[in-house]
Symmetry: C2
Subunit: 420 residues, 2 copies
C-alpha cells in the first residue's frame, strides 16, 4: 500500500466517523456553522487573495490560458459572492428529519418516511476555488460529510478556504473532519477516491468538464451523481408569440454560453419558420452568435452556415447555435429524443394544449414552457444553491441542492404488532 493510499483511506475513515456526529447534530448547529463560515470568508478576504495569488502565479508560469486563469482567480467581488452563497444555503430550510410521508396500512402500523443524510460525499472538481465553499456548504446543510478534491491548480486557494471551513465547523460544535480537502496535487488521489476508499464514500459528484465527468462515470465503484452534458433544445411551436420567442431564444443561447443550461439547438415549426426565424436570427447575429442551419432554415435565413449531423450532437458551450426546421411538435420531440442529453428543453407557444403535450412527451430532467433554458439552476429553483444538475435517472434528477443530497429511512411505530 502506498503512502498516499494509506492517507486517503485514513481520510475516508475520518469522514465516516464525522458523518455519524454530523447526522446526530441539531439543524441549528449546521446553520450556525454556515453562518460562521460566511462571515469568515468575508473577513479573510486579504488572506484568500494572497493564497489565490500563489495559485495564479504558478498557473501563469505553467502557461495556463487567460480564460482558465480567469476561472481560477479570486477577486473581492468573487469572495463576497462565495460568502453570500454560503449565507443563502444557511437560510434554506433544513432538509433533515422532515417526514415526507406518513400513513397507516391495514396492519395498523404508523409508518413515516423521514429524510436523513446519505453519509459521505466525494466531490471532484476543477480549478474553481468557489466550489470548495459551495460544495462544503451544501454538504453541511444536508448533514453529509465531504471529501473534496479540487483541481491541483487551485490547491492553495482551496486549502485557505478549507481552513476556514474547519474553523467554522469547530466553532459550531461540529467535527472539523466533516469537510476534508485532499491536500495533495497527486493525481492518483482521484483514482483512489473513485474506488470509494473501502466503502467510506457513498456517492461521488464530479463537477467539471466532460472529460472529468466521463472518467468518473467510467471508473467510479461508488454511485455517481452527474450530468455529462447539457445538449438543450428550445422549440418554437407554430403558435409561438414572436416577441416571447425572440426574448427567450436570445437569453437561452447568449445570456451565458458556457453554462450547462444554455440552449444548443433551436427547433422551429415549418408553419411558423418564415414568421419567426428572420427576427430571431437577426437578434442572435447582432449579439455575435454563429448560426448553423439545415437546408430549410438556410432557405429562410441564407446567412447561416450549413449544419451537419455533428451539429445536432454538439454541446458548443460557445456562441454557436444549430437551427433546424421541423414539421410539427412530434418531429421536435423526436429530434430531442434522438439527439438530446436529457438535461433541459423548452417550448415557446401560446397553445396551452401543445405546451402540455410537449411537457408530457419530452423525457428530460427539466421541461420548460415559455421560459429560458438558462433557468436550469438550483438557485433559480429556490434550492439555495446546487452541487450540479443531474441527468441520472436514479436518485436525484435536475438541480441537486441540499434536499437532493439526502436519503430517507422508515420509522414504523407499532403497539406490539406481529406478522401473521
Amino acid at each position: 500500500m502506498t503512502d498516499l493510499s494509506t492517507r486517503m483511506l485514513d481520510l475516508g475513515r475520518r469522514a465516516r466517523t464525522a458523518a455519524v456526529l454530523l447526522r446526530e447534530a441539531p439543524a441549528a448547529a449546521r446553520t450556525r456553522a454556515l453562518e460562521i463560515l460566511s462571515a469568515k470568508l468575508t473577513a479573510a478576504e486579504p488572506a484568500l487573495i494572497a493564497a489565490n495569488a500563489r495559485d495564479v502565479e504558478a498557473a501563469r508560469e505553467g502557461g495556463m490560458t487567460e480564460a482558465l486563469i480567469d476561472r481560477l482567480s479570486l477577486s473581492p467581488a468573487r469572495i463576497a459572492g462565495m460568502a453570500e452563497a454560503v449565507a443563502t444555503i444557511a437560510a434554506v430550510p433544513d432538509p433533515l428529519g422532515v417526514e415526507t410521508e406518513r400513513w397507516t396500512p391495514a396492519n395498523g402500523l404508523d409508518i413515516a418516511r423521514v429524510r436523513t443524510p446519505i453519509g459521505v460525499l466525494g466531490v471532484i472538481y476543477e480549478s474553481r476555488p468557489n466550489v470548495t465553499a459551495d460544495a462544503a456548504a451544501l454538504c453541511i446543510r444536508s448533514g453529509n460529510a465531504a471529501i473534496l478534491r479540487c483541481g491541483s491548480d487551485c490547491l492553495q486557494s482551496s486549502l485557505a478556504i478549507a481552513a476556514l471551513i474547519a474553523e467554522a465547523l469547530a466553532e459550531a460544535g461540529l467535527p472539523a473532519d466533516a469537510v476534508q480537502l485532499v491536500d495533495t496535487p497527486d493525481r492518483e488521489a482521484v483514482g483512489l477516491m473513485l474506488t470509494g476508499l473501502n466503502g467510506a464514500i457513498d456517492v461521488i459528484v464530479p463537477r467539471g468538464g466532460k472529460s472529468l465527468v466521463a472518467r468518473v462515470q467510467a471508473e467510479a465503484r461508488t454511485a455517481v451523481l452527474s450530468h455529462l452534458e447539457g445538449l438543450n433544445h428550445t422549440y418554437l411551436h407554430q403558435a409561438a408569440d414572436l416577441e416571447t420567442a425572440r426574448a427567450i431564444v436570445l437569453n437561452a443561447k447568449m445570456r451565458r454560453v458556457s453554462v450547462c443550461g444554455a440552449t444548443e439547438t433551436l427547433l422551429v415549426d415549418r408553419a411558423a419558420a418564415q414568421r419567426l426565424l428572420p427576427p430571431v436570427a437577426a437578434d442572435l447575429i447582432a449579439a455575435g452568435c454563429e448560426l448553423r442551419g439545415d437546408a430549410d432554415a438556410r432557405a429562410i435565413v441564407p446567412v447561416m452556415t450549413p449544419a451537419t449531423e455533428a451539429d445536432w450532437i454538439t454541446e458548443y458551450l460557445a456562441p454557436i447555435l444549430a437551427v433546424r426546421v421541423v414539421d410539427d411538435l412530434d418531429a421536435a420531440t423526436d429530434h430531442i429524443a434522438r439527439y438530446g442529453s436529457g438535461h433541459t428543453e423548452a417550448i415557446v407557444t401560446t397553445d396551452a394544449h401543445a405546451a402540455e403535450r410537449f411537457a408530457a412527451k419530452v423525457d428530460s430532467a427539466i421541461v420548460l414552457i415559455n421560459a429560458s433554458t438558462q433557468f436550469a439552476d438550483g438557485g433559480e429553483f429556490g434550492f439555495g444553491g446546487e452541487i450540479g444538475i443531474s441527468t441520472n435517472r436514479l436518485h436525484a434528477r435536475g438541480p441537486v441542492g441540499a434536499e437532493q443530497l439526502t436519503t430517507y429511512k422508515y420509522v414504523v411505530r407499532g403497539q406490539g404488532q406481529i406478522r401473521p
Copy 2:
C-alpha cells in the same frame, strides 16, 4: 461479436423502444394489462403446471436438493397466489404523472415535480418462477420496460408465464416487448446484462442469494438496486413489556427464518435481562431455535451455546439467534452500527422517549418500534408488492414497490421569463 451478444443487444433496443410507448400509455391500459394477466395466470393453470413439470423433472435428474425443488415448483395454490399478487398490483394507485411537489420561487416560474418511469429495468433472479410474474407486474405498473433473466432451472415455467405476459400486454394495447424474458439458459447472458447492453438498461435489480447480489454489485456497469443481506436486530429495552417482548421476538425470528426481514441478533438491556431473557429464550427454544449467547446472556440462560464474534456478523436465515446483553440503548445502537447491514431493526419498550431516541440514532432503512422486524415487506407497507428491499443509500431505500421504481422530471410553466 457473438451470436448471443447480438441477440442481447437487440433485446435491449427493443426494450428501449417499448419503454417510450409504455411511458406514453395511459394508466388505464397498464391496469388493464395487469388485470388480464391475472386472469390468464388463473386460466392457464394446467399449462403452467405442465411447463413447470418439465423444469422439475430436469432439476431432479440433475440432482437438485428437495428444498430447491420445492422453491422451483408450481402448485395450483402457488399459481393462485401469483394471480392474486398481480391483481393486487393492478389495484395499487398508479404512480406515474403524480405531482409530488409544486411551488413558485421568486422568479415567478410555476415548478412541478412529476413522477415518470425510470426506463428499462433488468431483473436477474433465481429459480422462483413467481418472480417472473411479480417483477413484470411491478414494471408494468411503474411504466418501465423490463428484461427478465430467470435462473436456468425455471426457464420452461418462466417462458410459459412470459408468453401470458406478452399476450396480456398486446390485448391491453401495449407493446409486447415491454417485458422480455431472456430465453436461453446460457450464463453469459447475465454478464452481458451487467454491461447495460449499450446503455439500454437503466438499473439492474438482483433478486436472490448473497452470491448473486454480490456479483451484480461488483460487476454491473449500470445502477443497481439491491440489498446484500438483512442482518437485523431486535433490542429489548429495559422498559420493555414482557408479553410484548415475547411475542415480537418469537415472531421476528421464527415466523419465517429464511426471509430478509428475520431477526438475526437479539440485544437485551442488562437492567432487564434477568426479567426478560428466560421467558423469551424459553419460547424460542420451544419453537426449535438454537440460541448463541455472550457470557452475560449465558449466565442467565445457561443452555445457550457460546457466541463468537462471527455470530454478530452472520445472517443465519435459519432457526439460530445470536443473543447479547448490552449496557444501555447507546450500547445497543453502537452494536447495530458496527455489525448491522442497515436493513431493519426494532426496539421493544414502553418508554416513548427511548423509542424515539432509538429511531433517531439507528441509521437503517427501516426502524420499528414495538413491532416485528418481519414487517419489512412492501406488501405490509401497503405498496401492493415489492421487487426487493433496498439497502442502497441512493434512490430507493427499504421496500421497493412500483412508486420506488419511478424517477421524476420538472415541468416548469412560465409566461415568457428570461434569466437576468
